[in-house]
């Protein structure tokens, strides 16, 4: 696995300090003072990507940066840091911007490391799920969605106007391509879509 962490803070010293901290914990980390310097392509491989970003980045806003990263790395986990904690920002960070955590400065190191490893795990899982979904056909994705919705094969057949046999075939194909067996596997996959 080749996980990576991008630390973005307009105080480059802090970004580097955190990157070095992750490095000491065996994680590959890069520091950026300016989001413009970030790579803009999805990394290859199965590794997770975790972005640790300050919310106030000079002229930029950490939330906008998170959105733009999502555009090219949908499976990246984002962690927000701030020296200006506001409840409204905290709620936005998690609900609207899909942040893993919202950390106040001075940073609680334990919590940072825990959140980052959670974020990486989440990102890896999403990467895998995304890869698996890429292999599915359009019809199979439709079926996957309905299964994740909790519908039985018979119900799915009714909704899609297919025979029960065809639906069962699609589910077998999904199982084969993604390794999903239980309902929760389907739900997780669907969420990753």
């Amino acid at each position: 696995m080749a996980d990576a962490i991008y630390v973005i803070d307009d105080d480059l010293d802090l970004a580097q300090s955190l990157a070095r901290l992750f490095g000491r914990h065996g994680l590959e980390a890069h520091a950026f003072a300016d989001p413009a310097g970030l790579p803009s392509v999805q990394r290859g491989g199965e590794g997770g990507l975790c972005i640790v970003t300050d919310i106030m980045l000079g002229d930029d806003n950490g939330f906008d940066v998170a959105q733009s990263i999502r555009a090219w790395a949908p499976s990246a986990a984002v962690l927000f840091m701030t020296a200006w904690p506001h409840t409204a920002d905290a709620v936005d960070a998690i609900r609207r911007h899909g942040g893993i955590d919202y950390l106040e400065k001075p940073i609680d190191e334990e919590r940072l490391l825990r959140s980052v490893s959670e974020g990486l795990a989440w990102s890896r899982e999403r990467t895998l799920a995304a890869r698996a979904i890429e292999r599915l056909s359009a019809r199979e994705r439709e079926v996957l969605g309905l299964v994740a919705d909790g519908k039985s094969s018979k119900a799915i057949a009714n909704v899609l106007g297919l025979s029960l046999k065809t639906v069962e075939d699609h589910r077998a194909a999904i199982r084969a391509k993604t390794g999903a067996h239980l309902l929760e596997d389907y739900v997780r996959l669907w969420r990753a879509l």
Binding site: L14, Q16, S17, L18, L21, I107, E109
Partner: protein, 525 residues
């Protein structure tokens, strides 16, 4: 000179110094009382110099010396054999001797009680009032015994008796006003407590005073040439004018010159009535001049006190500003602290393991140094800003004021997501207190920031040949918050205290507060 305000030392009557003082007074009384006869007209003299000594001693060492002085006078009179009379006459004469000093003591006590000033804060105005009141009280004491005095039979009518008391009053007032101020000045010199008088003896003002005297002299001379006699009225105006403009000491010197002329320089053969009139005028000139001077002194002192209060107000406002900014500052501190915490923990962990790469160590050390110095800078800026201002006005460059002020509000700007921009430069120096000017700019910036959160606030600096300015520009989006008005008033007060002016102008939606200061005003201040 401001020595009339010198604090009366805590002198006891029954102390060696008290005894020496009383003895000195007795000797001076003997000399000056005899001298006063030169100016005697009825039973009184038109100049009674011992009254000045009496007032000066009582004013400086306390009205408690009134009784001892009265006894000393009585002893001297007894020594001269003036009490060798039938008992009733001796008693009346004794009273006539004792009552005036007691009247002075009472007069001084009354003025001090009415003015309610602490001895060390006594103003020239109080003294000027006492110098008029003490002789008046003493004269009023003379009223009853003037009628009892056997020699009163020499004066045929009641009006004449009252005229005699008027003579007493003129003689005493002239004596007090001519002698007491320089005497008090000399006594205060002895205590070597230097005091800074208000600085107003500027060259133009001295010329102005001289012009007033010359003008008064010319008018008097014209009057004299027109055979209107010796006219001192123009000197009343000149002395009051000088008192108001130059203070009690300048007024005193003019009044003293006039009085000396009246006492020594009147043409021989001037009728008594004219002499009395001129002496009365001289006394009026002295009283009016000294009152005007005292008033002017008090006014200047009050102005200085207001300036002092303003300083305290500015100080309080700065502390208030710091308090309001504390939330922002806490977060500003938390940024470098994050780095420091991470690196410190790293060092601790590394020291436990016992190994740390040289590069790693170097990097950590540099980081720690950089962060601690940035924290130290922040603390220093805040400490400077919260410091007490005691320093007087100096030459200040507005560029420095602006950069410090921007540093101070930077934390808050971040919290409000306001972008602070500084445009232009002003290397010209103006006269002011750097810290207070900073406060003025901080107030304007904070107002602008809270009126336009998330936008930009601009500090513009510049100068014209005669003036340097700073301006705060923004486009308000939010309504005025609490405290903005007070901040503005304080900013304006500070700017005006530095000889500048603060103006608001609106250009479309843009609001500009601009403070203009005169350049090179130092030599005039």
């Amino acid at each position: 000179m401001d020595l009339d305000r010198a604090q009366p030392p805590n002198t006891y009557v029954l102390s060696p110094f008290g005894m020496v003082l009383i003895a000195t007074y007795a000797v001076l009384f003997a000399v000056l009382h005899s001298l006063a006869r030169t100016w005697g007209i009825t039973i009184y003299s038109l100049w009674y110099p011992i009254a000045g000594v009496r007032f000066a001693f009582l004013w400086r060492y306390g009205a408690k010396f009134a009784w001892p002085f009265a006894l000393a006078e009585l002893l001297v009179q007894a020594f001269w054999g003036r009490l060798d009379k039938p008992p009733m006459e001796a008693l009346v004469f004794g009273l006539s001797v004792v009552l005036p000093p007691l009247g002075y003591g009472l007069g001084i006590r009354l003025v001090r009680a009415a003015r309610k000033e602490k001895p060390e804060k006594e103003t020239a105005l109080s003294m000027a009032i006492a110098m008029a009141v003490a002789p008046a009280v003493a004269a009023s004491f003379s009223l009853p015994w003037a009628f009892l005095d056997q020699r009163a039979s020499l004066i045929a009518h009641v009006v004449d008796r009252l005229a005699a008391i008027l003579t007493f009053l003129i003689g005493d007032v002239l004596g007090v006003l001519l002698l007491a101020p320089p005497l008090l000045w000399a006594l205060a010199l002895r205590s070597a407590k230097s005091r800074h008088a208000p600085k107003r003896l500027t060259t133009p003002r001295v010329f102005e005073g001289a012009a007033a005297v010359v003008l008064a002299f010319l008018v008097s001379w014209v009057a004299y040439s027109a055979e209107l006699g010796v006219r001192l009225e123009p000197f009343v105006l000149a002395t009051v004018w000088i008192g108001l403009r130059l203070g009690p000491w300048a007024a005193w010197s003019v009044a003293a010159s006039t009085a000396l002329y009246v006492l020594f320089g009147l043409p021989v053969g001037t009728p008594t009535a004219d002499r009395v009139e001129l002496h009365l005028l001289a006394a009026c000139i002295a009283v009016a001049g000294y009152l005007a001077g005292g008033y002017s002194d008090a006014e200047i002192r009050h102005a200085a006190e207001i300036t002092q209060r303003d300083r305290l107000l500015f100080q309080a406002e700065r502390l208030k500003t710091l308090r309001a900014m504390s939330v922002a500052i806490i977060h500003e501190i938390s940024q470098p602290l994050s780095t420091l915490a991470v690196e410190a923990k790293h060092l601790r962990d590394a020291s436990q393991v016992g190994s740390m790469g040289e590069e790693d160590l170097k990097f950590t050390a540099q980081l720690i140094e950089r962060k601690s110095s940035s924290l130290a800078d922040l603390v220093r800026t805040l400490r400077r800003f919260g410091a007490r201002t005691t320093e007087p006005a100096t030459l200040v460059a507005l560029s420095e004021v602006a950069s410090e002020a921007v540093t101070v509000v930077q934390s808050e700007a971040k919290a409000l997501k306001v972008r602070l921009e500084v445009e232009g430069a002003s290397r010209e120096q103006i006269v002011g207190n750097a810290l207070e000017l900073q406060q003025a700019l901080v107030n304007l910036l904070r107002n602008a920031m809270s009126a336009s959160p998330g936008a930009s606030v601009m500090v513009r600096l510049g100068s014209t040949p005669a003036r340097a300015f700073f301006a705060v520009e923004n486009t308000p989006t939010a309504t005025a918050a609490d405290g903005m008005g007070v901040g503005l008033i304080i900013a304006r007060t500070i700017v005006e205290a530095s000889g500048g002016e603060l103006r608001r102008s609106d250009i479309g939606p843009r609001v500009i507060y601009r403070a203009d200061f005169p350049i090179k005003a130092f030599e005039h201040g």
